[in-house]
Amino acid sequence: MSPYLAQAVGTPRIVGVEFPFGHPLGHAGDREEQLRVIRDALRAIVEIEEPNTVVDLPYVWPEFEYWIKAWHPAEPSPITKHLREQARLRAEAKHRDEGQP
């Protein structure tokens, strides 16, 4: 999924696929696509000789404009809500401070 992060945490063998979150091996119901990605990953197990090597796969996920939104949960995660609330409170405090004489 994210070879950048997989490398950073010290994964021995890494296969990068540029698929949206929640879909590391492809589309639901697409058995052939899933097998293609898995077989590529199995080949990488054999071929990678240096620890922490990344093999990037060339597959392009279609319909970017749809999926860039569709991978998200229906409602923002608790941490997202929490961070937004903190940002809102900071903005309010700044606004108040700037309003002071």
Binding site: L5, F21, L25, A28, L42, I79
Partner: protein, 165 residues
């Protein structure tokens, strides 16, 4: 073309990860000592999958109360699992496709096919599911990770196939 690790992230999250200072862990390395057709595999995904009616879902209620906390426990998923047994507890992704076809993250049925065709030696009796949102990795590193590794060794696993979602 190299894979863009940040393609699907909102810009704020991409910036967070780009600027995150991570201690580069020493990379573990075990050479592959036999052909894949003789290797036993176990799978591990961060999808948050669990077996409906048999296992507790990952604790999303506590995460809602404590947004910087994520349930660090794991679920053991047997190789004879059926799709209709699988549910997904994960608040950070759209889980609909995972609940329709768990093989996009925990490819148990695909690995059974590869076992049947002789492309791999076998799929181990047990695969594993964790929930990928973690405020801290301490419990994974100190308790659950070693526990999963130990169970894999008990089942004579040669290769762990990891799929972060």
């Amino acid at each position: 073309m190299p894979v863009d690790s940040f393609k699907w992230m909102p810009p704020s999250l991409a910036n967070y990860y780009r600027n995150l200072s991570m201690n580069r862990a020493e990379v573990p390395w075990t050479p592959l000592r036999k052909p894949l057709s003789e290797c036993r595999f176990s799978l591990l995904s961060t999808a948050g999958a669990y077996l409906k009616g048999e296992q507790e879902p990952f604790d999303l209620e506590r995460e809602r109360r404590e947004p910087t906390w994520g349930d660090p426990s794991y679920r053991a998923i047997p190789r004879d699992v059926r799709q209709e047994q699988v549910r997904v507890a994960h608040l950070h992704i759209n889980t609909a496709d995972l609940e329709a076809d768990i093989n996009i993250a925990l490819p148990i049925h695909r690995f059974l096919e590869l076992e049947a065709s002789g492309e791999i030696g076998s799929l181990a009796p047990t695969s594993y599911s964790v929930m990928g949102y973690q405020g801290s990795n301490d419990e994974w590193a100190q308790r659950y990770g070693p526990e999963i590794a130990s169970r894999m060794k008990d089942e004579e696993v040669d290769c762990a196939f990891l799929t972060p979602v």
